[in-house]
């Protein structure tokens, strides 16, 4: 587990043309942390 995320609860907010929320969430989960909410936003 990455010490950065150790024991942390994570909110993952993605951006439509960048990295989507679920992709961020997958990375966080792979790092061993818990994602409590993920969403993607659109800014246009």
């Amino acid at each position: 587990m990455s010490p950065v995320f150790d024991g942390k609860l994570v909110i993952a907010l993605g951006e439509r043309d960048g990295v989507a929320g679920p992709a961020i969430a997958a990375c966080i989960k792979a790092a061993g942390s818990e994602v409590v909410f993920s969403a993607t936003e659109c800014f246009v």
């Binding site: 960048g18 990295v19 989507a20 992709a23 969403a39 993607t40 800014f43 246009v44």
Partner: protein, 474 residues
């Protein structure tokens, strides 16, 4: 099976600085800060400035987006005409009059002076014969008293002059609140104006239209069925298409391309001969990026609602063919990163037809005007898409890495559409595409639209669709 073609397209803008405060962002921000409200009102454009703004001229078809000069575009355009063959930019008093003409439920009460101005403007309008101008007199009255009623909205012109009162239609149904109905009526009006230009400017018989598909963004309905629709038939009636019926295609900003594909399929299968695809404007998006504009000393650029309409019909041997074998869809399993979406929409359909990415002359993607989006930190949306497409072309070996800038410059274009997602999503390029594929030297135009489904909190997925337009071989 007959090849469906896109024979004509029309595009309109209504310059509505007075309505800009009713956009979603300003309606939340202005009431809580008087100083910001003053700055906002002081940064609204005049009608002449809006008409001269070069991206608006590109939107109504007066110049191709690749002929736009280098930015800044603010203040760069010479005095220009509000009309083109197939479009216009309508001033606010006329647009308020149009709202009143199309209002069947006594929602709009126009101030007497504004009603007179609207009557004079619309009375001399090229489309006057297709409007019920008698409604203007019936809709004029004590706007101040109506605006003061519980649940009503005041509408303004010239910075802060009361122009109309707009009533709610129900005392407890949020779906029929004044703000919602104003959005819906503005959408109906811009969509209707676009359809009227489509048929009138191009000599199309209104009675020849069988069906109208709306790809507009607004949700028309009541509390028991929010978003029930049907803007398609609403606009058909308003535009005098007496033999038509209609329906809506909803898919966030991506809706125009599925609407075109469905229209093409209806024509190709023989179900209907003439299908209009229409998108009315999105009032909630007015002033969406105003904070960035004020911060940078710019005018509030999101002060126009747009409209777009196109006719999909049977093969006439001349008009661009809507290739139903060249449709790209974003499958559930495709992944939602921008490269994955662009590969599904921009590359795979070409590969299935045995075409390279260089066989497409113009890629029409999300053509949001970057002069609007960049000051608020939203970047240059079309440029991002063209970089992705060019990178995919390089990966396929269609071009070398050094060819990426040339690919972007020659097959892409600057964004020129107002930030009303569905209009920016390829639909705004249709008049240019029709011209380029008939009088111009293009062979293929790829129309690519994306939609942010995740915003509705029912799925984490995106969607998108693409379709190829091709020069008719006669």
């Amino acid at each position: 099976m007959s090849n469906p073609v896109v024979s004509h397209a029309a595009q309109v803008l209504a310059h509505v600085p007075g309505l800009a405060r009713h956009g979603s962002k300003p309606s939340r921000e202005l009431p809580r800060n008087a100083e910001v409200r003053e700055q906002f009102l002081g940064a609204l454009r005049s009608f002449d400035e809006a008409v001269a703004y070069l991206p608006h001229q590109a939107y109504i078809g007066a110049l191709h987006p690749r002929d736009l000069p280098a930015r800044p575009w603010i203040g760069a355009g010479p005095a220009a005409s509000r009309f083109t063959s197939g479009g216009e930019i309508m001033p606010e008093e006329e647009f308020l009059g149009l709202l009143a003409c199309l209002d069947q439920f006594g929602l709009v009460t126009l101030d007497f002076d504004v009603a007179e101005l609207a009557a004079a403007g619309l009375g001399g309008h090229p489309l006057a014969k297709r409007l019920d101008l008698d409604r203007l007199a019936a809709a004029s009255g004590d706007a101040e008293a109506v605006a003061a009623e519980h649940g009503s909205l005041p509408l303004h012109v010239e910075r802060d002059r009361l122009a109309a009162g707009f009533r709610r239609a129900h005392d407890s149904d949020d779906a029929l609140a004044a703000a919602v109905l104003l959005e819906n009526l503005a959408c109906k009006a811009t969509g209707t104006l676009a359809v009227l230009h489509l048929i009138d400017d191009h000599g199309i018989d209104p009675d020849s239209i069988d069906y109208v598909i709306s790809c507009s963004e607004e949700a028309v309905g009541d509390r028991y069925q929010r978003g029930g629709g049907n803007m398609g038939k609403t606009i058909a009636e308003a535009a005098g298409l007496a033999q038509a019926s209609g329906a809506d295609v909803k898919n966030f900003c991506a809706a125009p391309v599925p609407a075109l594909v469905i229209a093409g399929a209806l024509v190709a299968s023989g179900v209907f001969r003439n299908v209009v695809v229409v998108g009315g404007g999105s009032l909630p998006k007015l002033g969406m990026k105003f904070q960035g504009h004020l911060r940078n000393g710019m005018p509030v650029l999101e002060d126009v609602v747009g409209g777009s309409a196109a006719l999909v019909t049977t093969d006439d041997g001349v008009s661009p063919v809507l290739r139903l074998d060249g449709v790209g869809r974003h499958r559930v399993e495709a992944g939602s990163s921008n490269p994955q979406i662009m590969e599904a929409l921009g590359v795979q359909p070409l590969e299935e037809l045995g075409l390279s990415m260089l066989d497409v002359d113009d890629y029409a993607t999300e053509l949001h005007n970057p002069e609007i989006t960049e000051p608020q930190g939203s970047g240059n949306v079309p440029e991002r898409n063209y970089k992705t497409l060019a990178a995919l072309a390089a990966r396929r070996g269609d071009i070398g890495r050094e060819g990426i800038p040339q690919f972007m410059a020659e097959r892409g274009m600057p964004g020129f559409a107002p930030t009303q997602g569905h209009l920016a999503s390829a639909l705004c390029y249709l008049p240019h595409a029709v011209r380029r594929l008939t009088d111009g030297d293009a062979t293929r135009v790829h129309m690519i639209a994306k939609g942010s489904l995740f915003l509705g909190r029912m799925t984490q997925a995106s969607d998108g669709m693409s379709v190829l337009l091709e020069r008719n071989q006669g």
